[in-house]
Amino acid sequence: MKDFEDREQRTAALKGLGCSRKRVEDARFTQGKGNYIDDVTLPGMLFGDFVRSPHAHARIKSIDTEAAMKVPGVVAVLTAADLEPLGLHWMPTLAGDKQMVLADGKVLFQGQEVAYVVAEDRYAAADGVEAVEVEYEDLEVITDPFKSLESDVVLREDLEAGADGAHGPRRHHNHIFLWEEGDKDATAQAIGEAEVVAEEMVYYHRTHPCPLETCGCVASMDKINGKLTLWGTFQAPHVVRTVASLLSGIEEHNIRVISPDIGGGFGNKVGVYPGYICSIVASIVTGKPVKWVEDRMDNLMSTAFARDYWMKGKIAATKEGKITALDCHVTADHGAFDACADPTKFPAGFFHICTGSYDIPAAYVGVDGVYTNKAPGGVAYRCSFRVTEAAYFIERMIEILAIELGMDAAELRRINFIKPEQFPYTSALGWEYDSGDYHTAWDKALKAVDYDGLRREQAERVEAFRRGETRKLLGIGLTHFTEIVGAGPVKNCDILGMGMFDSCEIRIHPTGSAIARLGTISQGQGHATTFAQILASEVGLPADSITIEEGDTDTAPYGLGTYGSRSTPVAGAATAMAGRKIRAKAQMIAAYLLEVHDDDVEWDVDRFVVKGAPERFKTMKDVAYAAYNQPIPGVEPGLEAVSYYDPPNMTYPFGAYICVMEIDVDTGEWEVRQFYALDDCGTRINPMVIEGQVHGGLTEALAIAMGQEIAYDKIGNVKTGTLMDFFLPTTWETPNYTSDYTETPSPHHPIGAKGVGESPNVGGVPAFSNAVHDAFRAFGLRQSHMPHDHWRIWKTANNLGLHG
């Protein structure tokens, strides 16, 4: 017992895996001492700002910069003509397409970058922007992807007619690719033979990650030493360095990229934007540091939209509800340039996780990418690549199938779940799900909310509504989602050719503290806190004695960055593996110090003990000191390790969410009465941080489902360019959530962790949307499109004849 207590105490002192360690980042953030991009100031720094196109599709007749150059404080105005000799007027996108850095002959979306004004301060830059005169000739605007594929209007005149794109043949001048997965014939046959088939168009509207801090950078070219330093809001700083080198011709060792503190990313800060290129060029041209920070309108109009998927689905089942096949055809609106941030071989990301949590024997997916006059992007907004779209699609199709079958949607899910004994499970679309126990999670969730009681209450409410006693309906939104995160195995996952491994380098200092550097970068996830916990448990040093550093490419090992919930599955694994390398070396040192054979010592929380003689031990702290202060035969001095981790598989977090929503039929107003979220993210590193991620992800899901969109009018004007119209909920619209968990470790991850940051968005959107739909199920609603803002809910009620 005493040994046990002693071990418990020593374990607790580490603040390692599984404890709700308070965050080390918070001291600086709560006192206003964070260092975000707009806080970076250099002597003599200039400011850049863009002239942007007011038109969605127009030819540029002329650009006159003369008046702008006369504005006091304006130093330079760059146009495509200035960038062309450098070959930088276009840049490659992450999706194998190319994108104009500054408008080259025409503009293709409202807000597109036309000229870059450099001035002594941001006020002068804004004055310069106003003084640049651009003459446009309007062209026909296409904002509808279906019409785009039939239109004679050629959006991308730069692309050779009839030539293949990066992802194969293009069947129309506005077509980007057709990407397919699964067995088309077998799926068609199963659907043809099915007893029940439900068919529906499910639209996931265009939205935007909109982190509270916009994108920005400071470029500083030191011409004397030939070194370029680039600070910026980069979710993938190492990739930015490589891209900057390839584009500029500056050798990679002469470029240092630094991501300072980042004020939220959510996918917005993965891509490379014209602002970065122009700032680098401007710094090279002027010899001075140049800062560029987007304003909010720039951000919503031009950098990185998300979603915009039209998903036409067919789901087939037996009369008893056993699903036999799933077919999905997506028309994907990619905007003016294909700048999706997906692994190279996956132009529709991991959308083919769309069989969800269900054992579906036959499935087929086809995705058509299409150009329109909208902003480029297609980023994974708080989700792994296109996984939110996939989860929304399957969770809507399940609900629609339940309607078709006249079944309870909870029961329909249960009878189709992949069973615990089926893991590892290979889906019809080719994924190998690592682990899961869906039935346990589902039962726990239904019981927690008293599902049967809610259904009774709902039925009573419907009756009361029909009797005219209430004008409010009750919706019960169910979701069981399965995510696919942790991209990814180098054999099939890369970005611009860079394998999607990640890395950790650890140095243990002589006195038993440590620094670990990773290839990722926190944007609020709390890596400095949680990665230290992983390491504390691996090497037996207190987390409080471990510094975590990320984001400086001169010091951190190469990594692919933080997005797609990949930090814990990939960099977290690298951290554990590097820690194990430390421990392996430490074992040899400890054995030497204890004068026994290596195999005669064993690890015990924070020390090596002689087997059978626990009173004889050397702590990791003892070992660290010895590693630096005495010769150990056959062992190099020092105690350091590096791990580059290539994950053998993705991880598959899952969860069961239930939303209870009150809906006012007369005004379309809604109120979330209850939200229960059960997440299974495998091994839990820091429960406090996990809960925080769940709260935040659910609130972003609430926003998306209930009002947030990037909307265009018919001539391509962005209608939602400020936070008045682009819905971010406040304290007042946001409910309290109840979070819960089960814990099914990943069998292939060193510590069994799966990642959680994006689960609540992936599962939350269908939960909120299903609640809206469910409220109207008794009155015949099958499908209505998000976002479910007041007027659209009202319209639904109106179409169902509920306004008398």
Binding site: T667, T730, W732, H790, K795, N798
Partner: protein, 284 residues
Amino acid sequence: MIPGAFEYYRPQSVPEAVSLLGTHGDDARVVAGGHSLIPMMKLRMADVPHLIDLQGLSDLSGISVEDGQVRLGALVTQSEIVSSDALAQAAPILRETAMLIADPQVRNMGTVGGNVANGDPGNDMPALMQCLDAEFDLVGPGGARAVKARDFYIAAYMTEREDDEILTGMRFAVQTGGWAYEKQKRKIGDYATAAAAVQLTKEGGKVATAAIAMTNLSDVPAFSEAAGAALIGTDCDDAAIKAAVDAMQGDIEPSEDNRGPVEFKRHVAGVMLSRAVKRAWSRA
């Protein structure tokens, strides 16, 4: 979002302010809290070469309730309205309305004068002032004059105020009876999808007087005399409320925006008015 350059003035008296306005004509704008004007300047949708800050004009501040009259200085902030006990007694609908405007920080800067004077159809105080039959005090080079709120609004951002006049405050009678301001909005910080201001009195179990005005349902605030008239003499039963709603529909002309199409706005206008009448009647 960076505003264009301007000259800044902080006059210490109303005549000084009026004289500055006279000097610079169209090129000058007055600013109180600035929470309508400054965003427009930052978006460069308002070009203001001369900005006249009114905060030094002590005559324009303060809330007074005397002799059955309420006077609000133009510089009274929404927060001051919310926290004024005197006003809560004299015209409680003001606090109810101000609480639904923007958010705490914006209410600390946003003034009632700015809210009524700039003619933004999204603002809540104009309809409220019409409902209360307030008079706006204007001072210009030719002296002072008063214009009724019900006569003040011409079109979006166009009012009876001349370019060289300053709106110094507003006056209305101490209110009796029941009141309600019902507002639907998408979230805190939004303008109304539709809102209804109702102030009514009751005698012998029937409505004696009723005033109704609507927010953000036309390019000007919509005082609906007919809607009020439809309630008078009734006990606010369903038929009377329906008649008032029907009458109100004739006095609004909503346009489509991100909050929804016209048919939705008309429907919500009816719901807001109906709810406001019921609540006002229950308080009468």
